[in-house]
Subunit: 592 residues, 2 copies
């Protein structure tokens, strides 16, 4: 490989190795210092370019693609504050174990802390939030350095994926010329034809990635398997809890474990297990109304005696508190060793692959769970869903919209759900069904920033229809992300639940304080209809349930992006949530 | 001081000490974990609240107020990614020495790295970009801790201002109850009436700030003064260069130094010295066209033999290169010791107050500068301004708009100029005049993020009319910042120079590369008129110079915010810049 100058050589080599490692897309933001990388990515025949003007949105878009695919979409930005705009998405990626590859352009080392323009300290900019950081050496046409560069590309991909996936940051320093300007051989920036001195691997790379990384699958040893099996076998009231996980326990392995144990499954909407064919096939209940009935007043639930937990800490606070208060054996399975259990009641951590663990545990007969225990959950689910159906029929409200979205989303679809109330409502009112729905959310740090961009990034990764359910604060916060609809050619159905401010704060004791309205609910009075004229979307409103279902159905069938706004009073919706919970509680009564 | 619970006590104490230290405003963003701080700020009678929904915009707004006033406006956000959204503004504040006080709410220490919701690692979140960081201890009604809290408030204000101003980060941990919920005395969160045990200072603070900080003014010693005076006295071709500085050398001290030395003054538009009564009073030229004539082809300039530099590295690249190539004595005056001189040709660093230094130097007679040297600059200025006037009369173009803004801005006014082309055009085409114009920009890191919010923050600080000149990319990047027009009641005249993408890239060699259009210029085709319907502003366009001058004049006279969009082809404007420079170069010719 040769090139007009050393920066071009360096960037083309890096990009070709990333492509060899499977990278097929990149998110670029315009800038000068990043020119070598931008040109190399844009000219690579096998890499799709997503161009973003706001780096914050760019990073969330890349995060969304990675959530959907499990593979990183590199990010490229110029030097200075541009890189700091990635920080919120880096934190979310760190917390939820999503691959990100951050390629920040930087000035050469002699300009640091000198007063030079657009030169800031980018060293370890994201602190401990990245899995791996390298301050890249300055480009040079030298065999060992080029082997280092090729190896670094392979390492960066391996470090960002693998057993403990997350963000990786390569700070890439370039000095002028940044453009592919031909430079004489004897210039320090020149590339002599014989620079590699016969080192073909340094010059041309290898057939495929320069280094192939093969990471083993962590499987629990036999003694551990027997120990856990003994505990499961002894249980009368066992539970399988599947928390949020983008690439976690598979439906097949869940089916095996559920069949072997007979334990009810409590499936978080973000577990990847609430929807799919296993829902109808399983003879244990796949529960999803637990957020309503586990926390109902006056309903007493027996403690489980053993719990097997997969994924992150569940979205549902009633479920977390139920598990906190259970005096029982709790096995947490986490291949990264991250231990996502903030109530500190777990008794065993299994650092092993979720499927390998479930398959190993399911290899023997474990069935002794009490039939009444299963029936208890099955009955609660029936009562819960009847109450939800009643409420949806009687009232047009936030939870009903989420229930309709879960019921009407096309099969297959990617369904992205915002933080704050939408994900809580999806948890409580999104009923399991046999459909290939990939439900995603940003629950690592649970911010309301970057929601639109994350969703559009996820949508860009497959041909599946994309549905986004968001709130008005999240829609405002990442309004810039809507530019990707046109620039990155993503189609979506956006359900915008607008209650003019922070509806979630009604759930907190602050809601009767004099500062509540201005500093917590913070109504903004924004009319979002003008986003239609700004961005590539059609904006419509749905005034009642019939209209919402019609518009939603039409949107998922049609091209382009429709934003369907539904307007509610947050207080009214909270009243319906309470009413449904009371109805369920009354029906379940003292029944244990 | 007592309170319903320890969090309320803690937050009210912190806020009352900040108010005692001079804080009169705060930027709040809604969230739950920050409730104690939010309530304490909102209820304080002497503190104005600016409520922002997007933390990135909030931080730039606070930055803008601090640029204008020299005093920090504290920022309050909830835990999680919210705090990371401050990062771009923190970097800008660090680089340009602007006070910021970041109060990030955080979870109690036992929840860190546990998988608890919205809990991220906020420790030293901004790395080395802050002057001071404290992970605050947990609130407790204990005399020594409360004295520590009061002292910390005073220290935080002192550290963020003073000789080396910049951001300060206090990470504030709270456990529930977050609201001012009355809590029994015997609860760990309770506040017994006698908690202070008679320590009145801990309980009630003092009259005024708990600790008054008095930082001395660094004045150069006599030997240094004589040494520098000797050098100035020996000079035939001396220069005073005033680079960007929000609170730097005063016009009075500049006048003294210029009178004593007879050196021409090269005044950056961000130096605070390009506009004002001294411009007409001085008998040395206050130069501002140097960006055009110092870099003109075919024009030979003699080297200066001594240069006294104030402020940051100048915006003008031709000026920086002229100083780089000058084989001469260069005195850099910087009270922070920051040494803003990226060409590494400075010979002397004077770590001392700018005014004290200028006054001391001016105390003796220093006048030996060659009259021809002064006349050379005076003549170049005349030729430059004639050429600019000709171009403005003939053509409607970007530089002409900046020239008109400088000429027509009301007196007094705050004038905020975006990075990329607007600040370069203000540098080259903004003619000095006797008017109280405070010209500000974000030249620390020179990002295009947060421009609107920084401007509106600056505008919120005084009753002066606010003018913002921005580009289309910057306008898009911080569109969320426009929400502050209504929420924070700021009026502005916004001149939106729209060339549909990154016009500055035309200045770089990449502009004939095949990737130029899509990855560098990156046209977005956005029609910004719908921002009128979204935000509290009137949107209008000016199709020619007459119309622009009319609309600009009307806007600065009227209430409300007018966005005046001027549309140009970036390439055309570059051609006019070149033409003006050629015309100046031809007229100056071989004249040295």
């Amino acid at each position: 490989m040769t090139a007009p100058n050393v920066n071009t050589l360096w960037a083309e080599t890096l990009v070709s190795e990333l492509a060899a490692g499977g990278v097929d897309a990149v998110c670029l933001s315009p800038g000068s210092r990043s020119t070598p990388l931008t040109v190399a990515f844009a000219e690579h025949p096998d890499i799709e370019v997503f161009s973003h003007l706001d780096e914050r949105s760019a990073a969330f878009f890349a995060l969304g693609r990675a959530r959907r695919t499990g593979e990183p979409t590199p990010l490229v930005c110029t030097s200075g504050t541009a890189a700091a705009n990635y920080h919120p998405a880096v934190i979310e990626a760190n917390q939820s174990g999503v691959p990100l590859l951050l390629l920040t352009a930087d000035r050469p080392p002699e300009l640091i802390d000198s007063g030079a323009n657009q030169t800031v300290d980018q060293e370890k900019l994201y602190g401990d939030a990245v899995r791996w950081y390298r301050d890249m050496p300055e480009p040079e046409a030298e065999p060992r350095k080029m082997r280092m560069l090729r190896t670094t590309a392979a390492r960066a991909l391996a470090k960002s994926t693998g057993r403990n996936p997350g963000p990786v940051h390569l700070n890439c320093r370039f000095r002028k010329p940044l453009e592919p300007t031909p430079t004489p051989d004897d210039d320090p920036a020149g590339v002599p034809a014989d620079w590699a001195g016969g080192d073909d691997a340094a010059e041309a790379g290898r057939d495929g990635p320069f280094v192939s990384t093969s990471e083993g699958v962590a499987t629990p040893d036999e003694r551990t398997v027997r120990r856990v099996q003994d505990a499961l076998r002894a249980a009368e009231r066992g539970l399988i809890v599947a928390g949020p996980a983008d690439q976690g326990l598979s439906a097949e392995s869940l089916e095996q474990l559920a069949s072997a144990t007979g334990f009810p499954v409590l499936a978080d909407p973000l577990s990847g297990l609430r929807f799919g064919p296993h829902v109808d096939r399983l003879d244990v209940p796949v529960c999803s109304g637990y957020d309503g009935y586990l926390g109902s007043d006056g309903v007493e639930w027996s403690d489980p005696d053993v719990v097997v937990r997969f994924g992150a800490s569940p979205t549902s606070k009633p479920l977390r508190h139920y598990l906190r208060d259970a005096d029982c054996r709790q096995f947490v399975v986490d291949p990264s060793g991250g231990w996502p259990e903030a109530e500190f009641t777990a008794t065993d951590l299994l650092v092993a692959d979720e499927d390998a663990t479930a398959d190993a545990l399911a290899s023997g007969s474990l069935g002794s769970v009490a039939a009444s225990w299963r029936e208890r959950f099955a009955r609660a689910e029936r009562i819960h869903w009847d109450a939800v159906d009643d409420a949806a029929a009687e009232t047009y409200w936030e939870g009903g919209v989420l229930a309709d979205v879960a019921a009407l989303a096309p099969d297959p679809a990617t369904l992205f759900v915002s933080n704050s109330m939408p994900i809580r409502d999806m948890d409580r009112f999104g009923r399991p069904r046999d459909a290939d729905l990939t439900v995603l959310g940003n629950r690592g740090a649970s911010g309301i920033d970057g929601i639109t961009s994350t969703a559009l990034g996820a949508g860009s990764a497959t041909a599946d229809p994309l549905v986004l359910v968001t709130g008005d604060l999240a829609y405002y916060h990442d309004m810039n992300g809507l530019l990707a609809l046109g620039r990155c050619a993503v189609d979506a159905t956006v359900v915008l639940v607008n209650n003019d401010g922070g509806g979630i704060f009604h759930m907190l004791p602050i809601d009767d304080h004099p500062t509540f309205e201005d500093q917590f609910r913070t109504p903004h009075g924004l009319d979002f209809e003008p986003t239609e004229a700004l961005y590539s979307l059609e904006f419509e409103r749905a005034a009642d349930r019939r209209q919402f279902r019609e518009r939603f159905g039409a949107s998922v069938e049609s091209d382009g992006t429709q934003v369907i706004e539904v307007q509610f009073d947050a207080g009214d919706s909270h009243a319906v949530r309470d009413r449904v919970a009371r109805q369920v509680g009354d029906a379940l009564g003292g029944d244990r």
